[in-house]
Amino acid sequence: MKTIFKVLVILVVAILVGGLFYGAVTASSSGTDQTAMSERPHSEGGFERHEGGESGGIQFPADAVKNLLIITVIATLYVNISRWIKKAGPVSTKNPVISS
C-alpha cells in the first residue's frame, strides 16, 4: 500500500512536470503548421527513420559512445575538481599571518 502511494506520488509529480513542459511547448509553437502522424508520408522530409537494428545490419553505436564520452568527461572533471578543492581546503581567516 505504501509503495503504491509512493509510485502514485512519483507519477503525479511526473505528470505535473510533463504538463508544464507540454503547455510551454504547445504555447510557444501554437502558430506552426501541424499535421497528424498518420497523414504524413514516412519517406518524405520530417523526421528521419532509424532502421539500423532492423534492416541495416550491425552499425557502430556512435550515439552511445558519444553519450558515454560526455558522461565520462563530466564525471572525471567533477570528481577531480572536488578532490582538488578538498585538498586545497578552506582558507582560514581566524589567525591571519601578520607580515613583519
Binding site: 512519483i10 510533463g18 513542459f21 509553437s29 497528424a36 504524413r40 537494428g53 553519450n67 564525471a75 572525471t76
Partner: protein, 167 residues
Amino acid sequence: MSKQNLTKLFLDLGTFVALLIASAPHFTGDAIHEWLSLALGGAIIVHLLLNWNWIVQITARLFAKVAKGQRFNYILNWGLFASGIMIMLSGLMISKTVVPFFGISLPENMSWKQLHELSTNITMILMGLHVATHWSWITNMLKRMLVPRAAAPVISAPVLSMHRKDA
C-alpha cells in the same frame, strides 16, 4: 554489504547500460529505442523508490541547515528528473512505434524533435554529474563486492562528501 545496496548497485548499473543503448536509435532501430526507453521509465521509478528515504529527508530539511553538497545533489536530481520527463514526453510526441501501437496518432511538430535532442544532451551532462556525485559510493560498493574481506573503509563525511546514510 546490505541486500538493498546490492539491489541498488545492480539496478543502477543496468539502468545506465540500458540508457546508453537506448540513446543510440541508429544502432538499435526505432522499436528497441522506444520500448527500452519506456522500460527505463519503470527502472527510474524503482530507483526513486529505493532512495525514497533520502528524498523525503532532504525535502523536509531543504531550507534548514543541510550540507551544501546534499542541496546541490538534490537540485541536480530534480534537474535530471525534469530532463528525463522532457525526453519521455518529446519522445512520445514523435513516437513511431509505441504511440501508434496503442492506436493513437499525434500531430507532427518539429519542435518536439529538437527538444528531444536537446533534453537528451542535457540529461547526459546531468547524468555525468549524478555519477560523479555518487562516485565514492559506486567505487566503495564495487570494492566491497569484488573484494569482500578487504573492503575499503567508509570515510567520515567531510563537507563535500556525497556519502549516503544508507550506503
